[in-house]
């Protein structure tokens, strides 16, 4: 395999690797606009020029494959490459508007970062601002994306994304020279269900997200690495939040799962968290309870309804719960109710879990953790229908339910009706849930638990890959993570205290369940995925402002 020297450091790479990939592996930063690790290299922006020993002129690092013994010097080390890159930057800025103060990209803009770089940025512009060529601003490209033609650096990442990745091919360049414009045919709204990614691939502020438009400056945001809970694919995402509120969700690059993309539904799934009012306090009918009361009452009523009369307890958990919650849920049911029926699916079709909805990312199963539930010994076969049949025959009188409404789409009308019927039929029902949902009001006791983004945990996706989702924002009201509530219920049942830190619970799972053997939070692959390009790589701190 070829060995290449970049800025004095050697690395051995596979045949066919480009210089920029080798540099990325070494952690040597080469400026780039058009190169993207998940798109075909095009080599049109000329920003990645490097000096290669023995070559007469600088060459583009993104389209030059390494050969054995190559000696590369980047703009950090080579004055020739530095001068070339500086010239490229000056050309790119000739007609660039002075928009940074109102540009949503500012703060994570490659153009800003590269211009400010001491090794190859900064120049005296030869252009008077009044001579700049103007193009159209604030062009609407449908509900997701706003285009500003003046800010485009013609890198064609967006064009290649829509051709190669989503396949919608809705964007193209028109005109020539100074007047090149990116445009959609007749400015038609983009139909692409992955259009949100265009704002991420665009290295500048030409394509920006309509949803995030003018919400916050990006340097005020704090970040949490998470996994999308919208379907069973489990795309790696980063939740950006400010003041306890989620402002946007962006993909993290994980080549084995979602590459650099997420679907628009997943991107906006955090809106579903606030679309319906949250359940804030434990409740019995209309009376608010405090937690100790509510937990004791829940346990006692379930005991009275099941064990005492020799009837099994029906235990139904949603496959949107984390592995940790599901594990404690199961532990509690096993410990407190010798007779039980444990189910997790609201619908019966487990086969859906890996069925594709389209040929990119989305899957039909809108639960992020169906596989995890299966691994943890939840018997999916019986499902809601089975429990309903039992309830109708009077065989069960107690129901414990852990329910999360889907983040993408809605629970089907049929399922909602069946849940309502089940809750009406069963005399003692305890439901741990997140929102004030009309079809759950028949429950005797409602316990508010944290949603995705408010608790830490792991989800196992359709591939059987267990991924870690961090806590991003705090819960409001008396809402607590499900693991804590289930830990308290367990305490009622066994009088023993147990560890409810997700990491400890996961260790317990790894010790007891073969599929999870040897996994720890630290070893989960999803933890090393970062957003591309790695935000804050150049000059700015990773965290938002302290104290906000």
């Amino acid at each position: 395999m070829p060995i290449v020297t970049i800025d004095g450091r050697q690395v051995e790479v596979e045949q066919g690797t480009s210089v920029i990939q080798a540099a990325d592996r070494l952690g040597v930063e080469i400026p780039r606009f058009c190169y993207h690790p998940d798109l075909r290299p095009e080599g049109n922006c000329r920003m990645c020029l490097v000096d290669v020993e023995g070559f007469p002129k600088p060459v583009v690092a993104c389209a030059t494959p390494v050969v054995d013994g190559m000696v590369v010097r980047t703009p950090h080390e080579s004055p020739v490459a530095s001068k070339a890159v500086n010239g490229v930057l000056e050309f790119l800025l000739v007609n660039h508007p002075l928009d940074c103060p109102i540009c949503d990209q500012a703060g994570e803009c490659s153009l800003q970062d590269f211009y400010m770089h001491p090794d190859y940025g900064q120049h005296q512009s030869h252009v008077d601002p009044v001579e700049k060529v103007h193009k159209r601003k604030r062009v609407s490209l449908g509900p997701r994306i706003v285009l500003d033609q003046e800010r485009c650096v013609m890198c064609s990442r967006c064009v290649r994304f829509s051709e190669e990745v989503s396949g919608y091919a809705e964007l193209q360049f028109v005109h020539r020279g100074n007047h090149v414009e990116l445009t959609a045919f007749e400015d038609r709204a983009l139909e692409d269900p992955y259009a949100g990614n265009l704002a991420d691939v665009c290295p500048v502020g030409a394509l920006t997200s309509r949803d995030f438009r003018f919400k916050r400056r990006v340097w005020h945001l704090s970040h949490a690495d998470s996994v999308c809970a919208g379907c069973s694919t489990g795309c790696n995402v980063r939740i950006d939040h400010f003041g306890g509120r989620i402002e946007r969700v962006v993909p993290r690059r994980n080549p084995g799962v979602n590459r650099s993309w997420i679907c628009d539904e997943g991107r906006l799934s955090f809106r579903a968290l606030v679309a319906v009012p949250r359940l804030m306090y434990p409740r019995q009918g209309a009376t608010e309870l405090d937690w100790s009361e509510a937990v004791a009452l829940s346990h006692d009523s379930l005991r009275a309804a099941s064990a005492a009369q020799g009837r099994p307890l029906a235990a139904l958990a949603s496959a949107s719960a984390t592995n940790e919650s599901l594990w404690l849920f199961r532990q509690y049911v096993l410990a407190a109710f010798p007779l039980h029926r444990l189910a997790f699916r609201l619908e019966r079709e487990i086969a859906e879990v890996s069925q594709r909805q389209d040929n990119l990312l989305r899957r039909l199963d809108k639960h992020p953790n169906t596989m995890g539930a299966l691994h943890l010994g939840f018997d999916g076969g019986e499902g809601l229908d089975g429990l309903l049949a039992l309830a109708e025959s009077g065989a069960i009188e107690g129901l414990l339910m852990l329910y999360y409404p889907p983040l993408v789409g809605e629970e089907s009308k049929e399922t909602r009706e069946r849940i309502t019927r089940l809750l009406h039929l069963v005399p003692a029902s305890v439901v741990l849930t997140t929102h004030e949902l009309p079809y759950l009001t028949a429950a005797k006791l409602l316990l508010p638990v944290a949603t995705w983004s408010e608790e830490e945990g792991t989800y196992t996706n359709y591939q059987g890959l267990t991924q870690h989702a961090d806590k991003a924002v705090p819960s409001r009201g008396a809402v607590r993570p499900a693991v804590e509530v289930l830990g308290d219920l367990w305490h009622c049942a066994t009088a023993a205290r147990r560890q409810t830190r997700p990491e400890e619970i996961f260790r317990e799972i790894a010790d007891s369940v073969p599929v999870f053997r040897d996994l720890t939070y630290a070893s989960l692959e999803s933890r090393s995925a970062t957003a591309y390009p790695p935000e804050g790589r150049m000059h700015y701190g990773q965290e938002g402002f302290a104290g906000r």
Partner: protein, 197 residues
């Protein structure tokens, strides 16, 4: 008065000798020379150094950093583009901005809320220096009072930062970028010169 070379004095010894009582009294009086001179001037010569505030006020420097002013364009719209740079730089974290979209395509973005909590402001002027638009400047207004301490009373919003009569009365203060705004900025109540040609 010529400055005397400093001298190390052993206070215990000095206190014991009666002769030093005399010299320390002389020293005290020498130290009060300025005070005494002004007392004589004010009482005998009727030349006052204090003024009858608040009926009388002193003129302040044009670089004085007082209560902020939001400036506007010739058409009367706010110059602020809601870039959040002032909010970002403010060490007291007392500026709160919320942005909105505006129809004018040359502007695009403007604040729907702009608030400075002056009870937390330390009048450092960083916000004014950070502003790329000369949208925020300071006035020479210094007497800031409120009847309660809550943020409601000293948290000035867009209205108070543009329309208080005090702005015209005190005039503009710290305004470091006056030489080079790309678009002229005007103070509230300031007459806008007619266009040339």
């Amino acid at each position: 008065m010529a400055r005397k070379a400093s001298r190390v004095v052993d206070v215990r010894q000095a206190a014991e000798s009666g002769r030093d009582i005399l010299s320390s009294t002389a020293g005290t009086l020498a130290g009060m020379e300025v005070t005494l001179r002004n007392m004589v001037r004010a009482t005998v010569g009727r030349q006052h150094v204090t003024i009858q505030y608040p009926e009388q006020r002193k003129p302040y420097s044009r670089r004085f950093r007082g209560v902020h002013i939001l400036t506007h364009r010739a058409d009367g719209s706010l110059k602020c583009t809601a870039c959040y740079l002032c909010e970002t730089v403010c060490p007291a974290q007392c500026i709160t901005i919320e942005a909105k979209e505006v129809q004018d395509p040359r502007v695009e973005k403007a604040p729907s809320r702009y608030e400075i909590d002056l009870s937390r402001c330390i009048f450092c002027g960083f916000c004014v220096e950070a502003c790329p638009e000369e949208a925020l400047i300071m006035s020479r207004e210094y007497d800031l009072t409120a009847l309660s301490r809550g943020p409601e009373t000293l948290a000035y919003g867009i209205d108070q930062l543009t329309q208080r009569p005090e702005i015209a009365a005190y005039g503009a203060g710290f305004r470091p970028h006056m030489q080079y705004p790309l678009v002229e900025s005007y103070l509230p109540g300031e007459p806008i010169p007619p266009r040339e040609g």
